[in-house]
Symmetry: C2
Subunit: 121 residues, 2 copies
Amino acid sequence: MDKQVSPPVCEVECVHADKVDALRPVVGGLNGVGEMVANLADDTRFKVLYALSQSELCVCDVAAVVGATTAAASYHLRLLYRTGLADYRRDGRLVYYRLSEDRMRPVLEAIKSYVLAMQVP
Amino acid sequence: MDKQVSPPVCEVECVHADKVDALRPVVGGLNGVGEMVANLADDTRFKVLYALSQSELCVCDVAAVVGATTAAASYHLRLLYRTGLADYRRDGRLVYYRLSEDRMRPVLEAIKSYVLAMQVP
DNA sequence: CCCATAGTCAAGCGTGTGTTTGAGTGTACG
DNA sequence: CGTACACTCAAACACACGCTTGACTATGGG
């Protein structure tokens, strides 16, 4: 089940074995990080999730907030639901979505801060 | 150059105009966030950048740390360089990369914490 | 000068993704 | 019942991405 450790990797384990050995276990614990980050790696979807982190919203509202069609908003909301980041409840004709994973808030805030900080200079 | 604002978006601006009006300017300031997050939305590339955030490394070391070929490591490093997240210097036959944007550290740490927190339960 | 080595580049591949479109589902209300 | 509306679903399209492969550049040592 290992991916690749030996064949086309440099000659030996390369130049700085100490640093490499120190980093490998740490980095190895990050498996799956790409898949998780990919849930946020789209303008529309990040905006949707950030909006949900601020307020419970129906699909219609989400579409209006992010500037998308309801179909597109529904697509992203369903995707966020399936990956466990959002939850929903039905109330009459409306469907309300909300952020379901509070541990995501610091991530959203960190990314938001970074983006806003990059817009000034 | 605007994307879509009016046509198939609900009827009016939908159910909760107050929340929508409050969120729209905030969310509107997040343009480009998806493109930025996409730089981290891959297991290998996130690991590469995280490793760089911990230590200056040559391509060979990076490949060894993340378990990839030097070509794959070089591909991601070059991409990170082109997007301004990494910088490099040449020293003899070796090329050393490092994190060039310190403001990225809190983002990397927040994501790492989230991933590690999700692995326990 | 020539070879070995670290790194880069470009083409090609398999694969995945966001959006549109149009049809379908479910709820409310007269 | 039947219309109206919020929402969902599935197909299709266009596009982009990560990795491999093999050739190429650049540095340094014999």
